[in-house]
């Protein structure tokens, strides 16, 4: 979200744990049962996924564990969900997730979503309903299922918009979501509006995601809103979307102003425009985002210049070509600017000492995907990155000044789903 640096409270890098055992219990029926759709009894389904990644990075830049020397297997995603439709207009759904991703998470179980969905109106051309609980947030094209490797266009999502380090803030929230769909000859409109809801700011990951380091006091979510309107045009395969959000968090300091930040308010307002054209053998996708970040009241005796009000910008263009049902290629150019008034990061470097590579990113990605069966998939991917050190987890890279400005990522991934 925003690149700020401080070594004052940076936590030490924790050793990655071994794989947790509990997901095996929930995955077992899927592995033994039929491929895809596993129906336990009428209206009750169980699904899941299992992904293992390998990351090799150049120079000193660690991605998901210590990835520079011989690579890292520190990336694992295991998830299982259950859904029950007791009557056609009601659905209960829950998904648990275990994610190993370098220093950000060590595989501890997390509740991904747990919701009650009620469709008040459901006809051929109209839907109107509400979800309550921990709901998936409507953000851009890829957030809805961002932990499921099968649904991603590449191993790593375009980081300029789908920051992995801020994943918990983007993926789901606790509150209410309203949805409406209207279909007709002029196209289809799909509106999702989440709010009021609270952001998932329960762990230090949220603080790392927003500020780049762990705060001494407590960060808490305030009532937030996010909405997305998708328009599927009458031109078959062309969809457009706009996402807007207002995410608020409040900081309660633990120490006095000589050692801590002030009691500040963090406001994050992203606006994302998305477009996607899907043909039989290829697709073209682009997203453009403008983000306003405003911090007020944080500046203190110890941190006199902490407050800010900046606008960031991101975009990517991505082409996918399906050679046959098994093979697929992806090519993408992904650009990020933390502050549109300092696109090369030089002003920030001069003023604060923060390396300029934290203020922008230009990432060329080329990847191949091989669908082994409908439930097994393998991928390989190469990234050439200029800047982009803000994408790296502070937890894996305690010294920001040791990071390289030009670096590469090579990644492999194997995934199973049912």
């Amino acid at each position: 979200m925003r690149a700020s640096l401080s070594c004052r409270w940076s936590s030490s890098v924790r050793a990655p744990q071994s794989l947790p055992w509990w997901p095996a219990l929930v995955l077992w029926p899927g592995l033994c049962g039929p491929a895809l759709a596993f129906e336990v009894f009428e209206g009750f389904q169980v699904h899941g996924f299992l992904t293992q990644g390998y990351f090799l990075t150049s120079k000193n830049n660690n991605l998901f564990g210590e990835s520079t020397d011989g690579g890292s297997l520190g990336f694992t995603e295991i998830g299982a969900n259950a859904s029950w439709v007791p009557r056609p207009d009601v659905q209960l759904a829950i998904q648990g997730l275990s994610r190993r991703a370098g220093g950000a998470s060590e595989g501890e179980p997390e509740l991904d979503f747990a919701l009650l969905d009620y469709a008040a109106v459901e006809t051929v051309d109209r839907r109107l309903g509400v979800r309550a609980g921990r709901v998936r947030l409507p953000l851009g094209l890829y957030n809805d299922t961002r932990d499921v490797a099968f649904t991603r266009p590449s191993i790593l999502l375009p980081q300029s918009i789908y920051f992995d380090r801020a994943r918990e803030l983007a993926i789901s929230g606790d509150g209410i979501l309203f949805y409406a769909e209207e279909r007709g000859a002029w196209g289809n409109f799909m509106l999702d509006f989440a709010g009021p809801y609270f952001q998932r700011i329960g762990t230090e990951n949220a603080e790392f995601g927003i500020f780049g380091f762990e705060l001494p006091g407590d960060l808490e979510s305030r009532v937030s809103f996010m909405g997305r309107l998708i328009y599927e045009t009458p031109v078959q395969g062309l969809r457009l979307a706009i996402t807007g959000a207002r995410l608020l968090a409040k900081y309660n300091p633990r120490f006095d102003p000589s050692q801590d930040l002030g009691p500040g308010d963090d406001t994050f307002e992203p606006l994302i425009f998305s477009a996607q054209y899907e043909a039989e053998h290829w697709s073209l996708t682009g997203e453009y985002a403008r983000r306003r970040t405003k911090d007020e009241g944080f500046s203190s005796e110890a941190f006199p210049n902490f407050d800010l009000d900046i606008v960031g910008e991101s975009y990517y263009v991505q082409g996918i070509y399906r050679i046959d049902p098994h093979w697929e290629m992806v090519l993408r150019y992904d650009v990020f600017y933390a502050n549109v008034d300092d696109r090369d990061g030089s002003k920030t470097e001069a003023a604060t000492g923060t390396p300029s590579s934290f203020q922008f990113a230009k990432d060329w990605t080329f990847g191949v995907r091989y669908n082994i069966t409908p439930s097994w998939m393998a991928r390989a991917e190469y990234h050439n990155v200029y800047g982009g050190t803000v994408y790296l987890l502070s937890q894996d890279n305690p010294d920001p000044f040791a990071l390289d400005k030009k670096w590469d990522i090579f990644a492999l991934l194997l995934s199973y789903r049912f």
Binding site: L36, D89, R131, V135, T373
Partner: protein, 189 residues
Amino acid sequence: MLRHGVVLVKCARPALAGPSKGKRTGSMFRELALCLILLCGWPARAVAEEVVVAVNPRTPAGEATTRNTLSAIFAMRLRAWEDGTPIRVYVLPDNHAVHIAFCKQILGVFPHQYRAAWDRLVYSGTGQAPLEVESEEEMRARLAGTRSQRPVVVGSEQEMRARVAVTAGAIGYLTRKMIDESVTVLPVE
């Protein structure tokens, strides 16, 4: 015929349109030739026979349906028939020639688009996936309300009612030659 078989089985599908399955044992050369043809971009030949929408005889779908209704049903965003009976959707695997033909010919959508839509529902907690069956024989049996190709003897009137209740909303698709008295064709207007 597992991994490599995926391609061969698919290419061998046109033989299904023939009078008997025995023809599938035709020469390897012909299968390879068909594979080449398919790779060169004549996938429309994969299923020579017409694919039709099939429902359980008790499914309250009316006399006919529309493409819009079918789109909503197979996208899993319409979950009840007009009288409130839950809709049960059966599909063949993504790479099955009959599934590909159904998606393209009847719904006008590519199979991977449906898979993406179902994944979005399943992994975001906003819906459910259709029920997947392995073969057309199994599809017909499920639509008819029997789990196997043999008639099922039900133990009691209650079980019969329960079974009918489950299958009364069933909908799927079959090649026309698979249609018999156990399932009903639902015409698409």
